[in-house]
């Protein structure tokens, strides 16, 4: 056995193709990005080394900061609104006996649709005149609340966050549900005998027991929030007046609309650093607050 599994040629045949592809598409671009981020480059001429100029430019660029804060809103929305909804709805679904499968399948459905379809469908909902949302508000007498949801600087970002929530909440609910159903029955029954029922049971028993999956959900939704650029490109393309720009769409525009590839790569590096910091901070906080049961 050991001899057969110590075949270096076979190991290389199995590992090298996948690893080469992975390195070519993850690590090499990252390295290239680092190189270009310290240059002035229009994508055609030779790049000219300019040191940290591009990073300084970002620090003083108002539009970059709008994009940065929109990424933060994405993260905050995920952590403080989406995750609590996910946990509460999962516990509800797990506790009802009838229609459990129906709820589970329905809430999951939006997450298998493409972001393009979801974005376009929600454009109908937010449309100023024929849009479902304004029609609904008008029909219940809240006409003054009707807005051009995606065309108004004050509501556009929030409207996108709601759509993103609509698409992904069910995905995480299914994850959390799987964890709830994997809790040993005896544990919950023992708790019930001790008087933990209803929400008391959820708070004292279920939530602590599914803590690991809540941690995963948070981490996935934080990194998911950093990835979300397709939904912005589809729904508003960063508008109106850059109010819904996220760092990735701003980077995209610097490169493909303005041909400022040096600056665009600097933004790419900032995105990577920011994501890594978020992941690490989250990891540390999570370690600190860990409790043994």
């Amino acid at each position: 056995m050991n001899k057969i599994q110590r075949n270096l040629v076979a190991f290389a045949i199995f590992v090298v193709p996948a690893l080469a592809l992975y390195i070519t598409f993850y690590l090499v671009p990252l390295f290239n990005s680092l190189q270009y981020s310290v240059t002035e480059w229009n994508g055609i001429n030779e790049p000219v080394y300019t040191g940290l100029d591009n990073f300084q430019k970002a620090m003083g660029d108002e539009k970059f900061w709008v994009a940065f804060w929109n990424n933060i809103y994405f993260v905050l929305f995920s952590v403080f609104i989406q995750v609590p909804v996910i946990v509460v709805v999962s516990i509800m679904i797990s506790s009802v006996r009838r229609m459990l499968d129906f709820y589970k399948l329905t809430v999951f459905l939006p997450s298998i649709l493409s972001t393009a379809s979801v974005g376009v469908i929600w454009q109908f909902i937010y449309a100023p005149d024929a849009g479902l949302l304004n029609q609904l508000l008008r029909s219940v007498g809240l006409e003054s609340w009707a807005k051009i949801w995606l065309g108004d600087k004050t509501t556009a970002m929030f409207s996108i966050l709601i759509t993103n929530g609509w698409q992904w909440t069910g995905f995480y609910i299914v994850l959390v549900l799987a964890a709830i159903f994997s809790i040993p029955k005896e544990m919950l029954e023992a708790g019930e005998i001790d008087g933990a029922v209803g929400w008391k049971k959820a708070w004292l028993l279920t939530i602590p027991l599914i803590r690991p999956v809540i941690v995963v959900t948070m981490l996935l939704s934080i990194t998911g929030a950093m990835k979300a650029m397709d939904i912005v490109m589809i729904m508003t393309n960063g508008g109106p007046f850059h109010s819904t720009e996220v760092m990735a769409t701003y980077m995209y525009k610097q490169a493909y609309s303005l041909s400022d590839f040096g600056y665009a790569n600097a933004i790419a590096i900032i995105i990577t650093i920011f994501t890594a910091i978020l992941a690490l901070v989250y990891h540390v906080i999570n370690k600190r607050t860990e409790v043994d049961y």
């Binding site: 056995m1 599994q5 076979a10 199995f14 590992v15 996948a18 690893l19 592809l21 390195i23 598409f25 993850y26 690590l27 090499v28 990252l30 990005s33 709805v89 509800m92 506790s95 009838r98 229609m99 709820y103 399948l105 329905t106 809430v107 999951f108 459905l109 939006p110 298998i112 649709l113 972001t115 393009a116 379809s117 376009v120 469908i121 109908f124 909902i125 005149d129 024929a130 479902l132 609509w166 994850l175 799987a178 029922v197 209803g198 929400w199 995963v216 990194t223 990835k227 650029m229 490109m233 990735a248 980077m251 995209y252 490169a255 665009a264 790419a268 990577t272 994501t275 890594a276 992941a279």
Partner: protein
């Protein structure tokens, strides 16, 4: 007992409301696709007065939606197959073969991917695709999709392989199998259910991918479905009837596949995220 029954009732009300929130927008798109435009504007909430397929005829005749569908199918299937094949071999090598230090190194290298958001790699990737001379060809998507699926797929398969006992492979060795034989005759058949779930997971991701598909393909004929859906908005502008018909055509296959494979899909998602 009474208290828990009333909680149950409240739960049902909230869950039904949530389910409506999910279903209604989809119902709206599908029902609008059978209406004419004035009906959509006058009565967006209602059922269509007369089922008319005019919008579908219009959408099919000038949108080439069938060819985008085939492009998406072709690109997603090939890249998913490539991801699964490459990930299975690497997962087998690092969990089953006896090169522990090397394996650990490979695995940590793959873990690094969790810290790198693919969006931040777009610009150098675009240049690379151009340098390889594959810009605007199906390969411009097939190769990156295959690559980006690898890390998570390896994590899921490796997690599964760690859970199956070595005895069967030992028996295989007795029967004279070498390391390739063990992989193809014993490990892959055992892992098949897991492979199916990661296949579905990767396929859905590739099928829905928008940003690279939009950037690496520029000619209309090679477009994938998500990019096409986005372009319909400009193409049909206020012609909601044709637009909703086009969107319905693009989401119906996904919903159909979902209704047949829901168990597998949900299983795949759970495996991918809990173990990954």
């Amino acid at each position: 007992m009474k208290q828990s029954r009333s909680i149950n009732f409240v739960s049902h009300i909230i869950l039904v409301f949530y389910a409506l929130l999910v279903i209604y927008p989809l119902f709206f798109v599908i029902s609008s696709s059978f209406k004419n435009n004035s009906e959509i504007f006058d009565d967006p909430w209602g059922m269509p007065m007369s089922f008319s397929f005019d919008n579908y005829i219009e959408a099919m005749s000038n949108s080439h939606i069938d060819s985008y569908f085939i492009n998406s199918l072709y690109i997603s299937s090939i890249s998913t197959f490539a991801t699964i094949l490459l990930s299975t071999t690497i997962a087998y090598a690092v969990t089953r073969m006896k090169f522990h230090t090397l394996s650990k190194g490979v695995y940590s290298l793959l873990l690094l991917s969790l810290l790198i958001p693919p969006a931040s790699l777009l610009i150098p990737l675009y240049k690379m695709i151009n340098d390889f001379g594959i810009y605007d060809t199906p390969l411009a998507l097939i190769i990156p999709y295959s690559a980006f699926g690898i890390p998570l797929t390896v994590f899921v398969i490796a997690a599964f392989l760690k859970s199956i006992p070595l005895e069967l492979e030992e028996a295989g060795v007795m029967d004279g199998l070498n390391t390739y034989g063990l992989l193809f005759r014993i490990v892959i058949p055992l892992t098949l259910p897991t492979l199916v779930t990661v296949f579905i997971l990767n396929f859905i991701g590739n099928w829905n991918e928008f940003v690279m598909a939009n950037l690496f393909i520029s000619n209309e004929a090679s477009r994938t479905l998500p990019v096409a859906v986005k372009s319909f908005v400009d193409q049909y502008n206020m012609n909601y009837g044709a637009l909703t018909a086009a969107i319905t055509i693009s989401i119906i296959p996904v919903i159909l596949i979902y209704s047949f494979l829901q168990k597998k899909i949900i299983e795949g998602v759970t495996a991918g995220s809990v173990k990954g």
